[in-house]
């Protein structure tokens, strides 16, 4: 009994301590603009917490963790699930217990008790509305491949996609496309023949689509695209009907975290109903709890019965990180893109 009281006391003391002046260091591959509302809400839930947020590109983040140049973070967030899985597999994370399930039937949104997904972001097509006036818009991968073949002139130099070679997320999406869809190779060749514009980031592609430099964007991150499309009448978002990959943005507590309880609390918050609601209503991201939808999803496309194909957090993502596998894939991809 006495021991229990003592341990309770010590718990109170530590919670008091970190409530006083604790720094939560988050290294993330997410736009600060997209995640800011959540950071604010977390600070109100845990007053006197100072959040240090540092934004990286997915590969930079991965490299930073492998060969640290900065102090170790408490929480690592990235949408490049394969790199996240690799980091966890290699022992960069520490387990967190009692993190709530967002909804049942989503076992793919968590790996062991170390890596936790908290968003569900579809990979979409984006098109320039003016360019497609009086033209059929491709709603499936197959239709796109067909149009690329049949209207090669229309798409020539006017279609853009992620750079699989320089962007972690781009590589993940391209490789998972290959797993999910058997005709990916052909589609890639078509993209190559159309001299597709290759970019590192969704934001750049979106800008070029808005201006009309590009008429079609293939495999763009749905969260950013929808956020942009909600306020921009020039572009439209298509959630492919045959299958739509969904990226799970995930977070883990770094093994060298300064304050693991606070880091765990942040991850718990991300997956809590409050956190999910904030994601749905105030950010450009899309919540893992799909019943909440997203305020950017003006046409309620997320609620459609599309064949969503969430990229499962699990060791199979390690496959495409194999040196040889990656080399082969990128070789083929470059060959297809640059015939």
């Amino acid at each position: 009994m006495r021991r229990l009281i003592i341990s309770l006391l010590s718990f109170c003391i530590t919670s008091h301590l970190f409530a006083n002046d604790t720094v939560l260091r988050i290294y993330s591959a997410t736009d600060i603009g997209a995640i800011r509302p959540m950071l604010h809400e977390f600070e109100t839930l845990y007053p006197n917490t100072t959040i240090v947020y540092r934004e990286f590109n997915t590969i930079e983040l991965f490299q930073e963790l492998l060969t640290p140049t900065l102090p170790a973070p408490d929480v690592v967030i990235s949408s490049a699930s394969d790199l996240q899985v690799k980091l966890v597999n290699d022992g960069f994370a520490q387990p967190v217990y009692d993190v709530p399930e967002v909804t049942s039937n989503q076992p793919w949104a968590q790996w062991t008790n170390e890596l936790f997904g908290f968003t569900y972001e579809p990979v979409v097509f984006v098109y320039n509305k003016e360019a497609f006036i009086n033209k059929p818009i491709p709603h499936t991968h197959e239709a796109l491949a067909e149009q690329l073949r049949e209207q090669a002139d229309f798409y020539h130099n006017r279609i853009g996609t992620y750079d699989a070679a320089s962007s972690g997320l781009g590589y993940l999406v391209a490789s998972q496309d290959e797993v999910a869809f058997s005709l990916t190779g052909r589609l890639q060749e078509s993209l190559g023949r159309a001299r597709a514009d290759i970019h590192c980031c969704t934001s750049l592609l979106l800008t070029r689509l808005t201006t009309g430099d590009l008429v079609f964007g293939y495999n763009l991150l749905g969260s950013y695209a929808m956020a942009k499309a909600a306020y921009n009448e020039h572009i439209g978002v298509i959630i492919p009907e045959d299958y739509t990959l969904a990226i799970i943005r995930s977070a883990f507590v770094h093994r060298n975290a300064k304050s693991p309880p606070l880091a765990a609390a942040f991850i718990t918050y991300l997956r809590s109903p409050a956190g999910q609601k904030t994601i749905a209503n105030k950010t450009a991201l899309m919540p893992l709890d799909r019943r909440l939808g997203s305020h950017n999803d003006t046409n309620n496309q997320l609620q459609k019965s599309t064949n969503f194909h969430p990229i499962r957090l699990g060791p199979e993502l390690l496959l495409y990180l194999d040196q040889h596998k990656k080399m082969h894939f990128l070789n083929n991809w470059s060959l297809a893109m640059d015939p």
Binding site: E316, L318, H324
Partner: protein, 485 residues
Amino acid sequence: MFTIKEHLKKLTSSRMYSLRQKMLTRTALLMCTVLAILSVGVWHYANTSADYSYDRLLSSASVTMLDGINVAKNKVHIDLPYSAFEILQLAPEDKVYYAIYGPNGDFLSGYSDLPLSPSVTEQASTQPRYELHFYKQQKVRFIVRHKRLSERSVAGNVSIILGQTTIARDEQMRDTLYAALTTLMAVMAIALLVMWVAINRALSPLSWLSSQLVSQSPMENGRLPATKILEVAPLTHAINNYRQQWLDALVAMRDFIADASHQIRTAQATTKAQLEIALSSKNERVDKKVVEAIYQDHTKLTRLTNQLLVHATIVHRGDHQAFTPIDMHHFLQDIITYAVRDYAHTNIEFEYVPASENITILGDEIVLKEALRNVIDNAVAHGTSDRSTTHGVIRISLETYDLDCRVCIEDNGQGIPENQRMHALERFVKVGTNTQGSGLGLAIAQSAALSHQGRLILSKSELGGLAVCFSLPRLTETLHASSNH
């Protein structure tokens, strides 16, 4: 420590204990031991079966991965198939590590810092090797498998080392273990329960018996109710038998006391009557004839009393017999010496026919002496009573048979007719014209013979009179030895 010692003391002390409790405790202890032994076995089994099932995952995944290793453009070409990792997904929580080594042991892909590496000497045909290592602070089970590449450009073994953490494996092991242990414990509990019921059931005849015995008086001639339990039947039978013997002895005693008191009272009444007649006579002097009659009656009474006491002694000495080896030759010589001295005043001739060898029997000297004397007295009394003119002969002989010896006392008197011989053995029965005897002599002899596991045989003597033979079991050498021991 102290309490344990005390407890042990309690256990070892000779005070009363409950059989039921003891049996239950011992059974429980035994079962706990069995459970402990079985638990070790179950633990081993759970480990083996978990290893077996998850090793198969590793094995098939590694085979699939080797499928993706080929030779292309004169180089080892690695294109790992997605299915390999999907197989490993069957243990969804587990982390995966692998490394691929080329024909010369050169590292090709995967994790270069695994705690094991393929040995060059290993052949592709050999069975895959499984090893458990600590890697990145966790238990990881590794498989090492080889594949022979035999192109002209690349010849030799490529090896794959594939490892998986043991979360799912350990969980399955625990599941199996707990399931098996739960079953075991349930079985043990049921077995204990059954034991408890069985012990109660087995002990129930005991309480039934005691309740039956308590409710009956030992003096009553009631038998215990028949039981259908085979194991209990001998016990009730024995109790009934035992009780019957006591009751028989009691009846015999009662009869004897009744007979004896009747005989003694009759004799006393006769004496008293004679005395009264003598007192009521007007003569101041007592007639000598009357005194003689009184003397005769008194002698009879004395003899009767003595005989009764001897008889009682013989019969009841049987309860605590003090048998000793008796050398019959010396014993009979003593008896004859006394008899000759006692009857020196009569003209009776004693003959002794000894046996050809030494004979020893196990017996009670006092009882036998009493019995033989009575038979000799009888012989003296009857063998000569009506032939006062000729002198009587009493022959005492000792013969041996295989297992028995026979002591015979013969006289040359009238004897007893064959049809009355059995009758003569009964108490207070006087045969023929005899009026002097108490009717106890032969009864005493009979009792003595029976108490020595022998017989009393009445027959006609060569001398013309009665032959009374004691047939008694001999003490053989082995018996002798054991009795000495």
